[in-house]
Symmetry: none
Subunit: 271 residues, 2 copies
Amino acid sequence: MNDTSNPLLIDGPAVILVEPQLGENIGTAARAMANFGLSDLRLVKPRDGWPSESAVRAASRADHVIERVRLFDSVEAAIADLGYVIATTARVRGLAKPVRGPASAGEKMRAHALGGIRSGMLFGRERIGLMNEEISLADEIVTLPVDPDFASLNIAQAVLILAYEWRRSGVVQEEEGLRFTTRTDSRPANKEEMLGLFEHLEGALDAVTFFRPPEKKPAVVATLRAMLQRAGFTEQDVRTLRGVVAALQNRPTRPHKRADGTLTTSREKKE
Amino acid sequence: MNDTSNPLLIDGPAVILVEPQLGENIGTAARAMANFGLSDLRLVKPRDGWPSESAVRAASRADHVIERVRLFDSVEAAIADLGYVIATTARVRGLAKPVRGPASAGEKMRAHALGGIRSGMLFGRERIGLMNEEISLADEIVTLPVDPDFASLNIAQAVLILAYEWRRSGVVQEEEGLRFTTRTDSRPANKEEMLGLFEHLEGALDAVTFFRPPEKKPAVVATLRAMLQRAGFTEQDVRTLRGVVAALQNRPTRPHKRADGTLTTSREKKE
């Protein structure tokens, strides 16, 4: 099943809910898993039994997760096939175990997955969480950086954040960093085009004696150019802006192509 | 209010819900905010009005967020005091805007906050999200790395992940001692200032019937605004640009004194 050439298609961690009380929470957890590409949901002794109508309702369209749910009698049985297990807790209660945040847990589970090792994430009961004996079965503890004054994350929210971090660990290089939407119709303006814009604008401003006193002109021009350069305009943007300047000059003609393909400026036309 | 010595106590970003339909979603969003230490919730035209009993119920104990909720008639008004705004969308629809993931957005908002600049996060309507005109008001787009086959994150889940990333950016800083430098000379233009520039420019262009045919005006305006928004202008840049527009309109703002004490306008000087 694992296609390690595409980190998004790799088998994700199992989510193990220990004695969940409300079907609704099971359903919203299933939906959160589906949002971030997880599908292996395991329940240890759900209070109201299984299947659960309220779970199906709350899962909205995450049927593929709900249909694959497996039931277990104990945490030990639920995690038997897994190689690395984290226990999510709000507080670390004096257990001698490594503690991580969700992001580094996502990375660690990803690294294991790439090595063919399956991971699992334990989530506790609605009110009382996981027992110490259950936590002790895990390799590591993961805490969420909640506000201590308002720490009551529900199960589905905790699942959502861990599932998000799992997914993010796979896409981090592709999607996380800043990038620009590519517009097939426009490339970044080259320096020649930017210079054409600068000269057009400065000519228009000269005509209305914007640069006063004249000896300040070089500094003002430098400021304007720096500002416009920083903007990262595309070739299309530059054409639009030249249209704006021409219009404000009350000469709403667009630059025209010469026979050789270069653009004439309205300045040239004026002369 | 800002105590920059502790990044977790700094004023967090505003969360702006645009035309939310269900009070329950407002409440669960408020709760997600509280979990990660956010408290500034703004609603633009909530369908069922405000206050909302179902919102209060769903917020469970996040009363401090619900009590501070502010209502606005437009997105423009809701973001007027903010210096950096992200729009959360599932898909990027051909808008030429920078796109980030949630983690780097959290870091960017944190860096701004440390420089005294408030951020905001726009979230759209339950089914149809944000309109392009609304997205064009934002500085950048944030997409969540959801599974494309199951991309339907609800509002509160999207808020939860962005709030989590905001908080995480502070925790990371606390642990790693990261610091951001701020520019004391000029701050980024806020939305009110950008809107002032847009309206000034569009008014000037209207006066020279730049928008032809008139029915194309909204699309052209959206393009212009997106382009200028992307440029990351400072407050000083905006003032310079408004001077440029005013000059090109031939309405010099600052008459100068001749040697004999009478005033010239640049129009006279030109002649």
